[in-house]
Symmetry: C2
């Protein structure tokens, strides 16, 4: 059918050769989207990220700052004011995130439908060799006999 797979296809040190890890966590992509329209303050970011605790938001922003995705600017005022802004590097993530959102818009319904179909199906005949193969079902697991 095809050649054998390359054993060194993926970098064992950095699997992000397949997907950049720094946007793989729960919040980073959403923070990038929130900063698309300009610099935002800490509390301002907490509004759309409903439920995020200050600790987790701080963690996320610190990691993004470390990776050169955002800058942090503290104004010496009272009460204090801090603004976060996308760097040029951080802004390059926007096209990638847009692509992901487009995928979700176009294909997530099909995925969720498949998931629901899978849950409602009692059992999809998982390699149980004594049973008939029931080729008419919508199960994603198939049995082939020689």
């Amino acid at each position: 059918m095809a050649e054998p797979l390359d054993p060194e296809m993926f970098d064992p040190v950095c699997p992000s050769s397949a997907m950049p890890i720094q946007i793989g966590d729960k919040w980073t992509a959403m923070v990038v989207i929130c900063l698309e329209s300009g610099p935002r303050r800490f509390t301002e970011l907490r509004v759309p990220l409903r439920g995020i605790t200050p600790k987790v938001l701080t963690q996320t922003l610190r990691a993004m700052e470390r990776d050169g995705l955002v800058t942090r600017t503290a104004y010496d005022e009272n009460p204090p004011r801090v603004e976060y802004e996308l760097t040029d590097l951080g802004r390059t993530l926007l096209t990638l995130i847009d692509a992901a959102r487009a995928w979700s818009r176009d294909h997530l319904p099909a995925l969720l439908e498949a998931r629901e179909r899978h849950e409602t199906t009692p059992r999809p005949a998982l390699l149980r060799a004594g049973e008939p193969s029931r080729p008419g079902t919508a199960a994603s697991t198939h049995l082939h006999r020689q």
Copy 2:
């Protein structure tokens, strides 16, 4: 500067409105890439995914099957043979993954450089109001005085 952020910007139930979660885990994207060239057997997949344990590969494939991304076909032979193949839905992930890999190729070096610069910097003057602002450093945190 900009309008206030929409508090309902993200779906609290499904944050994948920002990034589809099913490719956010460690292995799914790599499995999709491995299956791009055609159906593969369980052991065949373990080769490029160096270090993956059978338990984790099974978990990953079961979840992908549940979500309609792959099909599982068991042949009633001895020794047993099972093949996994991308569905049409799973194949749509390829363009998204390619975009992510292109981003990594183009921008990951800059990110890693920023990270290293951040580690070698002793301390980036974090809002410590008594100290001078040192505007010449490459730190991503800035201090502004009125």
